[in-house]
């Protein structure tokens, strides 16, 4: 696990990523806390905390005696939330750095277009 950030947040994010890219299908079963702990070599209580975070925000739901499953509609909800975060996490620092270098919004847009074409 990456240093310096609560591990349970990282576990929650990893599960979210798997839901976003379809590795974990909606209504599909999520690895158990113990499997997550063994795979990532982390404390099971921490893994459970990560899973519980997703249960609390409705991304996962519990089937008593069976395990955790992905809530229907979770993927779309996650995508919406991640899009909001994207602006904050990537666009804002991009603008800050651009301003520092004297790159205006129009020039920045052009740069993005050029890069998009190159790819």
């Amino acid at each position: 696990m990456e240093d310096g950030r609560p591990i349970f947040l990282q576990i929650a994010e990893l599960l979210e990523n798997s839901i976003l890219d379809g590795t974990l299908a909606e209504e599909g079963q999520v690895p158990s806390t113990n499997e997550l702990a063994a795979f990532h070599r982390i404390n099971p209580a921490t893994a459970a905390k990560g899973v519980n975070k997703l249960v609390d925000d409705g991304t996962l739901y519990k089937k008593r005696g069976i395990g955790m499953f992905v809530t229907p509609g979770a993927r779309a909800k996650l995508r919406g939330r991640r899009r909001d975060e994207f602006a904050r996490q990537y666009v804002r620092p991009l603008l800050t750095e651009a301003r520092k270098l004297g790159i205006g919004p129009t020039e920045l847009k052009n740069m993005i277009d050029t890069w998009e074409e190159d790819q």
Binding site: P6, F8, N43, T46, R92
Partner: protein, 307 residues
């Protein structure tokens, strides 16, 4: 959640040194604790007192609700694996395993044999002829297979290579998952165990500096660098632990309640923000300059704040 260990104002003085100075804390059932601190900080002394192998100068100890001294009911539920453990000279590896099997009520012989295979312990070899690493492995096998409700590992990996240490961590985690119990892992290889431990007890020069959820600690300490004015501004939201200056640039380690908002704040102040690892945090809190811990006073104040 019941307390397995409760310690109040525990003090241990030797003739000239105070090994433990009014330490108070409790351990909750079925958690993995990291007992961290530099060599000679008092970690081993603390565990010796909790297992009644040594005698406290003053203070209260309660283990499973009773004092452990000469208390068979308590002692039979503890396993204390220490780096300095000695063995009678006539014993072979298999004898030590057999002895442990006689003594520990929860001993799992099949598991012990499996672990001995994993660590490639030669059963016929005299214990006195074992290498340092093998001796450590023997301790690890005894500690894990004893399945004691309260298990102490005191620097259990001396002489073990990285592969064997990883084996230890993996087996510890797997067996703990299957048979939850309270485990205290005393170590200075913090990076290696930081993901395993749920709680941190940090001891420095006989005093308890931290008694805190490891997850809460992660992200609580950050390093910001950039223009001095910006750093000064940022540091105001927390407790500064350390600072280096280079011309007009400063790098400061700060402890506080930092979330995503702090990241944004640092960015808007034109600062680089880097979260500290558990290891960094411990180093920052226990590094001594002129015989005083960096921010010793504030570290104690913080301890109160995290309670």
């Amino acid at each position: 959640m019941s307390a397995v260990v409760t310690v109040t104002d525990l003090t241990k003085r030797y003739r000239t040194v105070t090994a433990l100075d009014r330490v108070s804390f409790s351990l909750t059932e079925n958690r993995i604790y990291g007992l961290l601190g530099r060599n000679g900080a008092g970690k081993t002394t603390l565990m010796q007192l909790l297992t009644a192998q040594n005698f406290a100068t003053s203070g209260e100890i309660s283990v499973f609700g009773q004092h452990p001294y000469e208390n068979e009911r308590v002692l039979s539920r503890i396993s204390f694996i220490k780096e300095s453990q000695t063995y009678p000279s006539g014993l072979r590896v298999m004898h030590v395993l057999r002895a442990a099997g006689l003594v520990y009520p929860g001993w799992d012989e099949e598991y012990a044999q499996r672990l001995a295979d994993v660590f490639q312990l030669p059963r016929e070899r005299h214990v006195t002829k074992l290498s340092r690493g093998m001796l450590s492995a023997l301790g690890i096998v005894v500690g894990l297979a004893s399945r004691a409700p309260l298990t102490f590992f005191d620097e259990p990996y001396l002489g073990l290579d990285a592969v064997s240490r990883q084996l230890f961590y993996d087996h510890l985690l797997a067996d703990y998952t299957e048979h939850p119990r309270t485990i205290v892992l005393s170590t200075h290889l913090i990076d290696e165990v930081s993901d395993l431990i749920e709680y941190v007890l940090l001891i420095d020069r006989g005093r308890l500096l931290l008694d805190v959820d490891a997850e809460a600690l992660r992200g609580q300490v950050v390093t910001v660098s950039g223009p001095v004015a910006g750093v000064d501004e940022f540091v105001r939201t927390g407790t500064e632990l350390h600072r280096v200056l280079l011309g007009g640039t400063a790098r400061a380690t700060v402890r506080g309640d930092f979330g995503a908002a702090a990241r944004d704040r640092a960015r808007s102040l034109g600062l680089d923000l880097e979260a500290s690892s558990l290891q960094d945090i411990v180093v920052r809190l226990t590094t001594s300059t002129n015989g005083h811990a960096a921010g010793a006073g504030s570290a104690t104040a913080n301890k109160e704040a995290t309670r």
